[in-house]
Amino acid sequence: MLLEKDENKIPRFSFRPFKIIENIQIASNTFLLVVESANSLDHFSAKPFNFFNIWVPRVDEIPLSIAYQNGKRLFFLYKLRGLGTKTLAQQKVGSFIGIKGPLGRGFEPKRSEKWLIVAGGIGIAPIPMLIKRALELDAKLDIFWGVRVSTEFFDIAKIFGLPNEAWSIVRVSEDCMADFCGLVIDAIRSVNVDKYDGIIAIGPQEMLKTFCKQYGESRENTYVSLETIVKCGMGICGSCYIRESEKLLCVDGPVFRCSEVAKQLEGASA
């Protein structure tokens, strides 16, 4: 279910200082960033699928999904892409960065619901936070996680100390070194989606496009978490607009019903 938008924007739209606690490589091209608020009075209530804009001074501002929150500590999982993420990866433990957020609308299952989660690549990033909420909500998650090469996998249970209840995970890789060989979208073909209260996919646009074609047309409760260019994260600059829609990803997303983003996904390169 989509959650209410967060109120009180001034603090969320400012850069608040955070100290880097950990910034390590955990899989091929993939990093874990742990930061802690430098202001003891700050408090956050990030929800699954919220994102934060991470300010790398003088270089960039990078939107990253919240992977996990533990009190004042925020956890992020990121892949190296451009100059921004590469510079972020070089930031040392103990140094400061600025963080804007939580941004976007949260998304979580309702109490006791059962959801199917389809993640592609670094699309796994928001899932630990979702598992944490599922445990609190007594909900169940079946997760399919697909990557190209199996060196991209990492152990989310171990990193975030997640108990084994409430969720299951099937690993899918194109190099055939996992539970299932091929694309994650093929791996879920054999799954009876009717037994779930809803399904949500997160990953590369091409994967989401196929996902929405297969499941989005007949089912209301089919969601995708999208990526667009995000600059300000505040609903002002307009760079994150959704094609043929009034919605902005940074305000109304990143999670949308398939039916809301058909035109946006059509633009995905085939």
Binding site: F13, F15, P17, P57, C232, G238, K247
Partner: protein
Amino acid sequence: MALNRLALMTSLAGIELRHPLMNASGFLGYTREHVHRLASYGLSAIVTKTITPYAKEGYEPPIIVALRNGGLLNAVGLENPGKKCIAELVEEARKINVPLIISVGGRNEEEFVEVAIEAEENSATAIELNLSCPHTKGYGLEIGSDPNNVFSVVKAVASVTRIPVIAKLGLSDRVVESAGKALEAGAKGLTLINTVKAMAIDVHTLKPILTNIFGGLSGPPIHPIAVRVVYEVFKEYRSEIIGCGGVSSWIDAAEFIAAGAKAVQVGTALALANNPQDLVSNILQGLQHWLELHGYKVVEEAVGSAHRV
């Protein structure tokens, strides 16, 4: 309580407006989708992002950040798709039946004229000349802080277009003089003011926050400055003015009207509102009460009321 539609009607530079509230330029406004979203807020006219002749890239983020004082600091860098987007924006506004004002930017008279002609050919409602962006090299205030430049740009545009030309001026020592020059050159209205050049430094990283270092301050902190400019310009010329800067409640809007504005633009507050529709309708309700309180039947009667002795 339902709004008294008649009392809130106003006009500016010959444009009939359902009420005095429009958005400030730079809050969305360069795609069809943006126009649609802005229209859903209930504004009486929509002002586009500043459009330059050709697509212009902006600065690297951070481009916009909120400050602890309740304002915003921005250096977007006039990013826009170029004048080719105007047709689509006008078409969308026409579908929803809302007046569309094209904000026009350029580095010289020729560039302003080029975009203005495109706006006129597509039958936009009016043109707002951005002579006031404080942070983009070669644009805006770099031109608009000199009253003679203001005169020549406004003159060049006004002499080739029939749709109303509004000059948007920013804070500068000679803003009152610039306003006079704009009117003399053929501007039918003035938007006062743009953001005010400013900066913010993060004391933990010891770095300027904006990638561009300098940006424009908007929101409540600049409201008293904007009120002063509107008041002085109205006092001098009794011209048609759109008050802009830091409006977040009906009181701020009423203050502009009392100082001499016939219409009001809202930017920062729209972005910070949890519900922009509610913000717009709350400001309008407040304005209507205020008009009633003073026994004014229409906005027009309240314009410049602070100047009466």
